[in-house]
């Protein structure tokens, strides 16, 4: 009894599943089955072979996909399709938005976000969305699998294309990802040192020695940043004196160290604060720098007070450095950095928005075309089975 029409009903049900509310779907299938039953009975009454009658009834009704499309277009569609389908679509949207937003955060330094974080998170998000999409497609219908997989691949290709060809590439010279750190560098010893050494050849040695300590501690910058140096010395000197030892114990990054105001008669007059790992300061410097000279030859004068240290340093500096000029130069640097940074950020933001908008439109167009094409490709697997059974 009614093998072919039953198979038809199963196929039709497959097309409707997840797209019509269950009650409506069951009723529609039941109604179509009744239709077949009536039609077949009538044809059999007229003397047709039951099998042929079934085939004729099916032929008269049309293929299950067309029937499903008509039923869906006439009845109430389920608002979001199946739960999995919705989940997949949502996952895909979230992944694209999150990636785009994350990328902007990363570029514009709106929040701490490293490239590695972005790539790892992006891979996880896309991976999760992709698995979700494939699973949903597999569990609903094969056609959706094609569409979702295509959307997923497009999203990945597009996003990585965006990363590769997007604003970062365009602003390769600006290096937007490092705007903030660049600014920090310019404000700090490196740019300042280069500039200052050009301007003040006489202090080259002192400054470069200071610069060489860059990798050991942050305090060396204080020799360039005068107010900060003074504040640091004021903080550290009393502690050192209180301990009656050259060790300086503080909290934070400077756990142990020396405050070493050097004799004004020495060749290398400067204030030097460095971390100390338990060695004598001379040995520590030698171990750190690999240089035995001139560190060991420096004659030291421990400060008796913070004021004395500051005074000693100021005396040295005022004899060798033109602080007004340095100040002007530093102001100039900062102004330049600000303008450059501001301009770059605006350019970057504009370009990013344009690229993102363009990319989104492109994705949309490609996805629409692909969906259209995929929508017109019959579900070959299902049809092959059905046609084989029908034959």
């Amino acid at each position: 009894m009614a093998k072919f029409t039953e198979w038809y009903a199963v196929e039709l049900d497959g097309f409707l599943k997840g797209r019509l509310p269950d009650v409506q779907r069951f009723e529609a299938i039941k109604e179509v089955s009744n239709h077949f039953s009536e039609h077949v009975d009538e044809l059999v009454e007229r003397g047709m072979d039951p099998i042929e009658a079934e085939k004729a009834a099916i032929k008269s009704f049309g293929n299950p996909r067309a029937a499903a499309v008509n039923l869906l277009s006439g009845g109430k569609r389920s608002m979001f399709g199946s739960g999995l389908y919705s989940l997949a679509a949502l996952g895909l949207m979230v992944s694209i938005i999150a990636s785009a937003v994350g990328f902007q955060f990363y570029n514009l330094k709106l929040a701490p976000y490293s490239r590695q974080d972005f790539l790892v998170n992006g891979a996880l998000i896309f991976g999760a969305a992709g698995v979700c999409a494939v699973l949903a497609g597999f569990l609903s219908r094969k056609v959706q699998l094609g569409k979702l997989a295509a959307g997923w691949v497009l999203g990945i290709v597009g996003s990585f294309g965006y990363l590769t060809l997007g604003p970062e590439r365009h602003f390769a010279n600006v290096d937007p990802a490092n705007l903030s750190t660049q600014k920090a560098k310019w404000e700090s010893r490196h740019e300042s040192t280069v500039k200052l050494t050009k301007l003040y050849g006489s202090i080259h040695h002192a400054v470069s020695q200071d610069y060489s300590t860059y990798r050991y501690n942050d305090e060396s910058v204080n020799t360039i940043n005068r107010p900060a140096a003074i504040e640091k010395i004021k903080t550290l000197a009393p502690q050192m004196l209180a301990l009656n030892t050259p060790y300086v114990r503080t909290t934070g990054s400077l756990t142990q160290g020396y405050l070493v105001p050097v004799s004004s008669t020495a060749s290398y007059n400067y204030l030097y604060i460095r971390r100390y790992g338990g060695q004598s300061w001379q040995d520590a410097i030698v171990a750190d720098t690999g240089e035995s000279f001139p560190w060991k030859s420096v004659s030291l004068k421990y400060v008796k007070s913070g004021d004395e240290a500051i005074q000693g340093w100021q005396n040295f500096a005022s004899n060798n450095w033109d602080f007004e000029q340095i100040g002007r130069e530093q102001e100039g640097f900062l102004r330049e950095v600000d303008e450059h940074s501001k301009k770059s950020r605006l350019e970057l933001a504009g370009s990013t928005m344009l690229t993102l908008s363009g990319a989104s439109l492109l994705y949309l167009a490609i996805f629409a075309v692909l969906s259209w094409i995929v929508g017109r490709i019959p579900d070959l697997t299902v049809y092959a089975t059905f046609r084989r059974k029908l034959a």
Binding site: Q24, E27, A28, K30, E31, V32, S33, N34, H35, S37, E38, H39, S60, F61, G62, A66, A67, N70, L71, S73, G74, G75, K76
Partner: protein
């Protein structure tokens, strides 16, 4: 005046006579039109569902002896009003076509 919604009008038309199930509706349209009108079967049910959603027709599952229940459709008062409008529109449409066709025929005869 154009005559729109012909499928709906045909369904309402046959249901105005008596309540019918889907296959009967299809058959009745074919029968009454002497085979000249055939509503594609797979478009019949969507049309019925739409009309039901619009409260033009109503349905109920009727049990059958030895066979599965079947869904029988009946026209509602809204559907009857709609059918009257369809009929009126159709009359105007036919009248307008006649005017054009017959006038042309008279002129040709003269």
């Amino acid at each position: 005046m154009a005559f729109k919604g012909d499928n709906d009008a045909l369904i309402l038309g046959v249901l105005a006579e008596r309540s019918l199930h889907g296959y009967e509706i299809s058959k009745q349209i074919k029968l009454l039109s002497k085979g000249s009108l055939t509503l594609p079967e797979n478009k019949l049910y969507p049309a019925l569902h739409k009309l039901e959603e619009q409260a033009m027709i109503t349905s109920e599952w009727v049990p059958q002896h030895g066979k599965p229940d079947r869904k029988v459709y009946s026209i509602t008062s809204d559907g009857t009003k709609e059918l009257l409008e369809h009929r009126s529109a159709w009359k105007k449409f036919v009248s307008n076509i006649n005017s054009v066709m017959m006038d042309a025929a008279k002129k040709e005869a003269n």
